[in-house]
């Protein structure tokens, strides 16, 4: 009221001023805000700048990116034959890359084994036997010469000491793939012809002469005992008078072969053991498994991370496992993000009775131990929708509770702010206020918590599959936990089975935690150092 009277008074005061003296203040000028000299920085850009200053988090993000690239690139690079390859003999073998083995001596498919003298000779003899030349059958190379052979399983060995039985012991590095050596198999005649053609074409030898069935062959089922030995597997030499001499190890030792020869003194490569007379005839032959593998598959046995306990390529299996973990974790995180945001927003915004009822629901869901949820879902749903989907359901059922709780807290914090009141006064509806005005404020917290869900899911998934509660061990799909659980009883003998999956899962967990912490600090600098 006072304002009115004073206005009137002022008006009266200036009554006498002439009209001409008035001028428009801004006539002809365009009125606008001054343009900012610097570029405006949005909330997300600001957070990004802060994030990139955090070295640990950036490093973590890079490592995650590398693991993702690995997980999706390796299956693309692996031929479908190799991915599905389940070799019965080459399981649990160590990492092996031929080029690296020859040039650098790493990835040699090697394991460290100690041999006594007899065992060392048996092992070295595999290399000698593989170099056998049927055109020059009397010329058998010595053990020392055989070290240059491509098929020599022992890549290096040295004298180690004496064992309890007073025998010499040698420490060796042995290529586990070549150590498979020779074996007997049964093939059809047509297959035999194919192998002969293949040998002609490639110059590699698969078929080796059979071993004689006499007193110098103590174990007729073992195709590696091609030289004369006594019943204790010690190599012997036999002269024309059937006089037997024991041979002892030296580099120059030349073993005496014990191949099967027919009445004309020629080497025998197969025996007929049944079947028809023509193409279906069954032959027993003695093969060098390494070359037979190449004949079957078209490539040498090369495995970046070795083979797993059932004989699959471990590098490929791991890529599949990581894929599963990541896809599961990211979809859980996204679904949780949506459900948690909506649920938390409704709880926080409306409060009161709505909040009370919804809180009870989430109390109940949160009270069921996750392991029980996962088990029940597995038992009820896995047969119908598959293990992965039922696991996804289990994660989704209770996973969003954390996000919802955070969103609810944020909504309680922001819903009574002045700008929300202003928006409501201007007639904004609830939905608009929730999503346009309050939600963006809590977005940083929600994104952070969604990212931190990922390591939790990866861990739970690997734990459940490790314990065997969920079973993901098919030929197409596997999980890191399954790989670890397969390795758990044999990993001291085959450490590579355990090391690679354990390292990858630890790296994933560490990096996602660092990444999430970095995001939290970036979105909310005041929270730095505070643990949630």
């Amino acid at each position: 009221m006072n304002d009115n009277t004073s206005n009137v008074n002022n008006f009266n005061k200036f009554e006498d001023i002439q009209k001409e003296k008035f001028d428009f203040a801004n006539k002809g000028e365009k009125l606008s805000d001054q343009k900012l000299d610097t570029k405006p920085i949005s909330y997300f850009k600001d957070a990004f700048i802060r994030f990139s200053k955090n070295k640990a988090s950036v490093a973590a993000a890079v490592i995650i990116a590398l693991i993702v690239v690995y997980a999706f690139l390796v299956p693309l690079c692996t031929s479908s034959t190799k991915a599905a390859l389940l070799d019965p003999y080459y399981s649990k073998k160590a990492p092996r890359i031929v080029a690296l083995k020859e040039d650098l001596g790493i990835f040699d498919g090697g394991i460290n084994i100690k041999y006594n003298e007899r065992a060392l000779i048996i092992e070295l003899a595999k290399g000698v036997g593989a170099e056998f030349d049927s055109d020059d059958e009397d010329n058998i190379i010595s053990l020392g010469e055989s070290m240059d052979s491509y098929y020599q399983p022992v890549s290096s060995y040295e004298y180690y000491g004496v064992n309890a039985g007073n025998e010499d012991v040698y420490q060796s590095r042995t290529d586990a793939y070549l150590s498979q050596g020779f074996m007997y198999i049964q093939i059809e005649q047509s297959e035999y012809q194919n192998i002969l053609d293949w040998q002609e074409e490639t110059g590699l030898t698969i078929l080796y002469p059979l071993i004689a069935n006499n007193e110098y062959n103590p174990d007729t089922s073992n195709a590696n005992y091609w030289y004369k030995m006594n019943s204790k597997l010690t190599p012997v030499s036999v002269d024309e008078n059937d006089h037997v001499t024991k041979l002892s190890y030296s580099e120059d030792l030349v073993l005496q072969d014990n191949y099967m020869r027919n009445s004309e003194g020629q080497l025998v490569y197969y025996t007929y053991i049944g079947g028809g007379t023509t193409e279906t005839a069954q032959y027993k032959v003695r093969i060098l498994y390494y070359n037979y593998y190449i004949y079957n598959n078209g490539f040498e046995p090369e495995y970046l991370l070795g083979t797993d306990s059932s004989g699959y390529d471990l590098a490929y299996r791991m890529a599949r496992g990581i894929q599963l973990s990541l896809l599961l974790a990211v979809s859980v995180s996204l679904i949780n993000f949506v459900i948690g945001a909506v649920y938390g927003a409704i709880e926080g915004y409306y409060g009161g009775a709505t909040d009370l009822i919804l809180e009870r629901v989430s109390d109940i869901l949160g009270g069921i131990p996750f392991i029980v949820v996962a088990t029940l879902f597995q038992m009820h749903l896995a047969a119908k929708v598959g293990g992965v989907v039922s696991l996804l359901f289990a994660f989704v059922l209770t996973g969003w509770l954390g996000t919802a709780y955070r969103v609810r807290t944020q909504f309680y914090r922001f819903k009574n702010e002045e700008y929300v009141m202003a928006a409501r006064t201007l007639g904004a509806r609830d939905r608009r206020i929730i999503w346009k005005h309050i939600f963006p404020n809590s977005l940083g917290t929600i994104i952070t918590s969604s990212v931190l869900v990922i390591p939790g899911v990866i861990f739970s998934e690997s734990m459940l599959s490790y314990l065997g509660i969920i079973k993901l061990g098919g030929s197409k799909i596997t999980s890191l936990g399954t790989l670890l659980s397969d390795a758990s009883s044999i990993w001291t003998t085959y450490p590579h089975l355990m090391v690679a999956p354990a390292v990858v899962i630890s790296l994933l967990m560490i990096c996602f935690n660092l990444f999430g912490n970095g995001l939290r600090d970036a979105f909310n600098p005041t929270l730095r150092g505070v643990e949630e």
Partner: protein
């Protein structure tokens, strides 16, 4: 204090309600699973008779009524058919509590002082190299899954250093028939260590965060101004206040020792409740599975409520849920 009693009562009632709903859901879901009779005719007849007494041919809600009635009147949670034949489920479970509790108790006794000490040290030396090393180690141990360092511990203790006679814990017979013998204790050490690392790291991280916050408070400045030395001020003021959230966490850990860790029990073959859970799923021993689920649910709820209530007792300023 009257408000406190009312608050505690309210929390307990709410917890019981939640517990009841969860048990109901679990019961229905487990009873809906197909059950099979064994091949053995006599055994099958015995099981059939027992099932009829429990009303297996009646609707599920009636079955649930019988189940609840048996619990209330006879403390009968059903019978184990596979794990130990015809024994009550409560007996099967009860016989497995001790190993779980022992291993977890040893690990807590080891982990709590160490975790808190590390956390305090890191907080006092904040942003110095000691703190940075501790923080990195904590980050590693919090993130790396427990089974990975279980394998490392197993490898070092058994295969490398030969400190224990076998990779898993001794069986009861080998250890002289009791879980309290010295040889049993020694064989438990790898499992105890594997359990401790995560606990130590978690506790150290929490203590460090809480203590760094209290160390920067105004009352610390006042304490120094009135003449206390730095250590006096830290122990009497900062630590005391930092303990407010740490103590409930420790209390909940002590309740958690009943549940144990499934994966550690599996790796070290500890015959505890976690292993029982896996066994009951693999053998489809439903009554044991049901009891184990109830047990885990109860422990989880109990830990939550004890934490909330102990907050109120430890720090009168906090009365959660009071308006």
């Amino acid at each position: 204090m009257k408000g406190m009693t009312k608050y505690v009562l309210k929390r307990i009632l709410l917890m019981l309600f939640t517990f009841f709903v969860i048990v109901t859901i679990c019961f229905i879901l487990i009873r809906m699973l197909p059950q099979e009779l064994p091949q053995d005719v006599n055994l099958a007849a015995a099981i059939q008779a027992r099932w009829e007494a429990l009303g297996y041919d009646k609707p599920i809600l009636v079955q649930y009524g019988i189940y609840l009635k048996n619990i209330v009147t006879e403390w009968d949670f059903g019978t184990s058919w596979k794990i130990s034949l015809m024994k009550p489920a409560t007996y099967v479970m009860g016989s497995r509590l001790l190993p779980t509790v022992l291993v977890n108790l040893y690990s807590l006794i080891f982990a709590i002082p160490l975790g808190i000490a590390l956390g305090i040290y890191a907080a006092i030396r904040k942003n110095k190299w000691e703190d940075q090393i501790i923080s990195v180690v904590i980050m590693l141990f919090v993130s790396v899954p427990s089974y990975v360092y279980a394998f490392i511990v197993q490898y070092l203790f058994y295969f490398k250093w030969h400190l224990v006679s076998q990779p898993t814990i001794l069986s009861l017979a080998d250890a002289g028939g009791t879980y309290f013998s010295w040889s049993m204790f020694v064989s438990m050490i790898p499992a105890v260590l594997a359990l401790s690392f995560g606990e130590i790291a978690g506790l150290a991280r929490f203590t460090r965060a809480e203590l760094t916050e209290t160390l920067t408070q105004d009352y610390m400045l006042l304490a120094r101004t009135k003449g206390l030395t730095r250590s006096q001020a830290t122990v009497r003021h900062a630590l005391k206040n930092a303990m407010v959230p740490i103590l409930p966490m420790i209390i909940s850990s002590f309740i958690g020792i009943l549940g144990g860790s499934m994966i550690i029990e599996q790796i070290f073959s500890i015959p505890g409740v976690g292993q029982l859970y896996i066994l009951s799923i693999n053998l489809l021993d439903y009554d044991v599975f049901m009891l184990d689920s109830i047990f885990y649910t109860f422990i989880g709820l109990l830990a939550g409520i004890v934490v909330d209530i102990s907050y109120g007792f430890i720090d009168p300023r906090i009365r959660m849920g009071e308006k």
